[in-house]
């Protein structure tokens, strides 16, 4: 495939490298002469100096035969315009815009840029996938054993609420060392401790059983 990337910053540069490795034909369009030179020194003649929103630049870049157009500068308005020009003037079938301000993701979709990548939204999605309400926080790692000291907060609808610790399937390899309840001093939890919503446990676990401990205490 022939892929044009606008913007030779960190994102454009790394993308270009990865796409070249996959055997694609790649061209970067970059305004800054020194960035251009650096990229060409390293990767061969893959970077063209110019403004990726300008018709003449895109025409020189052969946008009309491009299979994909990626606008990856750190200015959202530039990414919007270059994608629109590529799509409407040169008929590039697939245009992808990088989004810096996460609020613009919806706006770009409404303005006809179908594929957008927002790094902030991506990271947020991953965080939410990993920990739905962030109930488990890593405090410190103990090396070289690689044990984690974590804080686990019991959310409102956890299935463990009202149960005694000894009745929960907690892996004996994990150690619940402290229980912190609002309004009282920290205590050492014992097998008869009843879990309440809002409880905070400090535990030492190995990363391999951390997920199990989390789903036992936090899962609904």
């Amino acid at each position: 495939m022939y892929i044009i990337i606008v913007g030779g910053g960190q994102v454009g540069y790394s993308l270009c490298k990865a796409l070249l490795d996959e055997g694609h034909e790649v061209l970067i369009i970059e305004k800054d002469a020194s960035k251009c030179e650096r990229i060409n020194d390293e990767m061969g003649a893959v970077c063209m100096r110019g403004d990726g929103c300008e018709t003449s630049t895109l025409s020189d870049a052969g946008a009309a035969r491009a299979d994909m157009f990626i606008s990856a500068t750190n200015e959202d308005e530039d990414n919007l315009v270059s994608c629109q020009v590529a799509k409407h003037k040169f008929g590039v079938p697939r245009t992808i815009a990088r989004i810096n301000n996460p609020k613009n993701e919806i706006i770009f979709k409404k303005l006809g840029v179908n594929y957008t990548v927002s790094s902030v939204n991506l990271i947020m999605e991953h965080i939410q996938e990993e920990m739905p309400t962030h109930p488990l926080v890593h405090l410190i790692t103990i090396e070289p054993e690689g044990m984690e000291v974590v804080e686990i907060r019991i959310p409102q609808h956890a299935a463990a609420i009202g149960k005694k610790l000894k009745d929960l399937p907690i892996d004996p390899a994990s150690l619940l060392c402290a229980l912190i309840r609002t309004g009282s001093s920290p205590v050492q939890p014992d097998p008869d401790t009843v879990v309440k919503a809002g409880d905070k446990f400090i535990a030492v676990v190995s990363p391999s059983i951390e997920g199990q401990l989390r789903s036992t205490l936090v899962g609904a």
């Binding site: 929103c53 018709t55 959202d76 308005e77 919007l80 629109q84 609020k103 303005l111």
Partner: protein, 133 residues
């Protein structure tokens, strides 16, 4: 009319002064408060610091009740984005923008954006003046 002007440069400030003097309700939006020095002391409208391509800044400037928006910042792409957000997201009835690059203006003409290219206008004006001699 309620009119929002994005960009308080020479053109934006002068347009604001003209519209304000005619009794329109003008709101200026610019990313730099320093730009508002260009507004005349008699200006009775609102001047707000904010990014004219940002949905929430436009909302604060009252875009939902605006009759018109004019985008005249220094950047073609900023003007294009601001105008498109006004037209397609907020359905502002009258939207105008400045696009210096004549080729880019042509593309957005076909996409239904009402744009003026000062480059073309001035070149034609200069040519006409030369021909008078």
């Amino acid at each position: 009319m309620n009119i929002i002007i994005v960009g308080c440069g020479r053109v934006g400030a002068q347009l604001a002064a003209l519209l304000d003097a005619e009794g329109h309700k003008v709101t200026m939006l610019d990313i730099s408060a320093n730009s508002f020095r260009r507004l005349p002391s008699t200006f009775g409208g609102t001047a707000m610091v904010g990014d004219g391509t940002d949905e929430s800044a436009l909302r604060k400037a009252g875009i939902e009740k605006a009759d018109a928006l004019v985008a005249v910042t220094q950047g073609d792409n900023r003007n294009i984005m601001s105008a498109q957000v006004a037209k397609h997201i907020f359905n502002v009835p009258k939207v105008l923008c400045r696009i210096y690059d004549p080729l880019r203006k042509d593309i957005y003409d076909t996409l239904g954006l009402e744009a003026i290219s000062p480059t073309t206008v001035l070149a034609q004006l200069l040519k006409a003046r030369l021909e008078v001699q």
